[in-house]
Symmetry: C2
Subunit: 469 residues, 2 copies
């Protein structure tokens, strides 16, 4: 009953339960207690606080602790530490914890984990350490994990769980239920059972609710559905996630190149993949690669340096354009004052179009058939907003510098740059995608290069021509 009361409290003042405060952060008093218990080396208190936690809560707790206390917590928990929590923390934190552990201890931890979690931890380790850990495992587990690790990075084979329930097609529903009641070696939880032939070729699948609704004498092959969406183990995890998501599957069979069932990809993996891919897109659009908030200063600075260097080159390119008109600016300083406005508006309009284009490409809403329509649409939006902002900035400039001519020049340049922004914003992502590059990663630089260069050139060039200087 206590739990449903919790839920009501939550409805009144939205709060998350467990170790979190009402803002969703780890509560400070809980955090202080844990810190104190670690500092005082009191394993009993640490265990009392940590043992009831869900793996994701323990992950959040680890992220809040400083590195020494993290090691301290793992050490004080001993064999009672839930290693699944390591799959819930940033890579940098995971590595710092694992690197501090002897390989035999990692091997013991790996044995306790589901195969997908074990692979997740093992894949980031040094080749040497991984070999030593695998060698310390029993034959069957070693084989399983090695097979998963042989699939490419970010493939379905890497993310799959190798624990699943598979039965032959001629079994009855009753037999199947009895098997599940008696077998102790079942996965911890599952939503689907698979039907395979003697060579383990995948024949179909049955959702558990279908089993429960069938009569005991019915044959499994009569209640199963053909698995239309079996996932090849080599398939990229993003593509696999899209299939599971599109067809609202609770889990999908993963098959090897001989169509044999090798694992299962569950929907909670899909959520992790969907989030990771969205995160990747956002970070690439923002120019920060794979950086995490827990990365060190040096790692962060290095990962951003490359992007800033590219930007420096394109900024110098824009400056060269300005340099062409230095005589014009010398005659009319107002041009230097106003020119960043034209460039900045173009940059923003181009980023807007690019954002829409990158998202549409990611969700496959743009293709060859409607590209024409979308380019037309973006150009029209560019013309429309271009004309509106030309009127506004034209009036502002004319009043500010008491010159109708200057107003006309900046208005014209604004229209030109807004159209250039629209075209660059849609065409650059399309071209990058067409050449197999990720449009999220480089579109931004190219788009703002175009809008800077066109913006400065149109404004200063028109001014030079209009005023004859």
């Amino acid at each position: 009953m206590a739990d449903t009361l919790d839920a009501r409290d939550a409805a009144e003042a939205p709060a998350r339960q467990g170790i979190y405060d009402e803002d969703g952060f780890v509560a400070s008093d809980f955090l202080d207690d844990v810190r104190e218990a670690i500092d005082a080396e009191r394993p009993k208190d640490v265990k009392a606080a940590v043992e009831p936690l869900h793996e994701s809560e323990l992950g959040d707790l680890l992220e809040e602790l400083d590195p020494e206390r993290r090691q301290g917590l793992v050490r004080l928990m001993g064999s009672e530490f839930d290693y699944t929590a390591l799959t819930e923390v940033d890579e940098a934190i995971r590595l710092s914890i694992v690197d501090a552990m002897p390989n035999e201890q990692i091997a013991e931890a790996v044995l306790e984990l589901d195969s997908d979690d074990a692979v997740y931890i093992l894949e980031d380790l040094e080749e040497e350490d991984r070999k030593e850990i695998l060698a310390a495992l029993p034959f069957r587990e070693r084989l399983r994990l090695r097979r998963s690790l042989e699939y490419p990075e970010e493939s379905a084979g890497r993310r799959m769980q190798t624990e699943f329930v598979a039965v032959p097609p001629y079994w009855t529903v009753g037999q199947t239920i009895d098997y599940m009641r008696e077998d102790d070696d079942l996965p911890e939880s599952f939503a689907q059972i698979f039907v395979v032939d003697p060579t383990f070729k995948l024949l179909g699948a049955v959702d558990l609710d279908r089993i429960l609704r069938a009569k005991r004498p019915e044959k499994v092959e009569d209640v199963m559905h053909e698995t239309r969406h079996a996932i090849p183990a080599e398939m990229d995890q993003e593509e696999a996630a899209q299939i599971i998501e599109q067809y609202d599957l609770l889990s999908a069979a993963v098959v090897d190149s001989g169509d044999r069932l090798v694992g299962v990809l569950t929907i909670d993996d899909v959520i992790d993949i969907v989030q990771a891919e969205a995160e990747e897109d956002i970070k690439r659009l923002g120019g920060v690669g794979d950086e995490e908030i827990s990365d060190s200063v040096l790692v962060a600075a290095k990962s951003r340096f490359a992007w800033l260097l590219i930007n420096l080159v394109t900024a110098i390119l824009a400056s060269l354009v300005i340099g062409l008109f230095d005589a014009t600016i010398e005659q009319m300083v107002a041009l230097a004052v106003l020119m960043p406005i034209v460039a900045s508006m173009g940059g923003n309009a181009g980023t807007q179009t690019m954002t829409v284009a990158v998202r549409a490409l990611a969700s496959r809403d743009i293709d060859l058939y409607n590209a024409g329509r979308i380019i037309r649409r973006e150009s029209l939006v560019g013309v429309l907003n271009g004309v509106l902002f030309a009127l506004i900035i034209g009036a502002v400039a004319a009043l500010w510098f008491q010159s109708t001519s200057l107003g006309m020049v900046i208005a014209l340049a604004m229209v030109v740059n807004m159209i250039a922004a629209a075209l660059a914003g849609i065409l650059i992502p399309l071209l990058l995608d067409n050449f197999g590059a990720d449009p999220a990663i480089a579109s931004g630089t190219f788009v703002t290069t175009v809008t800077d260069v066109v913006g400065f050139f149109a404004f200063l060039g028109l001014a030079a021509w209009w005023f004859g200087i």
Copy 2:
């Protein structure tokens, strides 16, 4: 067997099955066939092509058709049209299809849908139409849908499914299985059954695999687990999704303010929510609000106008700063040529920091305890990259304009602006979040305003002081 062969083909040349070509787009020959059948008004051919499709495939097909053919397809399919497909298309397309249908037909469609899909379609309609459609429904359905629609927009109550299986705690596992075998009024698929008291207060839940593994005489209350994560119907969908995701639940009970079970939120809804929220963040960072690729030119232009207008104001602010130094620029045009570089590098560095900060806030990786550490980290990254780029641009400027002094001035200004960028990039999102605003939506403008103003002021001000002009 044909299906497993498909899977193997897919492994060799990654391809999606069904109506898609190898790039994941709707195959052009299929599309042409459907178009032809619609144009020739051949309902039989349209049905033959469309009926085998999954709802999401039908959704993709609808998005590829022009508006007239979309209406044509719905009309020709008649009562065999799968209205669930409407939940798979952009809002603009959904509305255009639904608006063309008479209300009685919508009411018939709604009756066929799961309650969450029905709500999804009804919530976007005009108040008037919605009332008329609800009035045309049988009492029980009307009540159910009206209750969902009374919860706030984007709440768990809006997204929940009101079909679920609930049993009393004193039932045995055998009784429960028999009930599921015989009752015809069960939801289409489910992964969990709920345990309630006579007033429908939620007591617990049992995963189906647990039921299957239990012996028939066991009591439900002995195999159930307490639902620690019941979700209040008023809770924001994003928060609800975070809970389901964090605890890897297949589905979660939704309760009203009296703790009574009113619905269930399933994990496939969570994926949709996670994707929608990531999409929202990306679009807000790009300054395009809720725009969709299918929006009309006018809608798109309007939604982008506000953002561009704010940018215009901030760009004029930056110009005012330049205006302060017009005499200096008149003396030394090289300053006008170089000044956009300082501003642009600051803008990019600020955007990088802001992207990291916005994502860390979204995943609650920043809080009061580590904010200090992260501000320190960002400042150090700013200093480090600031010094590096100061050296580069200082050398470039000194060589370009044959002036060591100019190189020194731009180098100093670069360091100042990179530090300002780091501080603005981290502090602005933190402040916005602190005042309850979404840091994704407005951080960008504020950050680039700071880097433009500081960039121009530092560079031109230092130059004016150094050269005494």
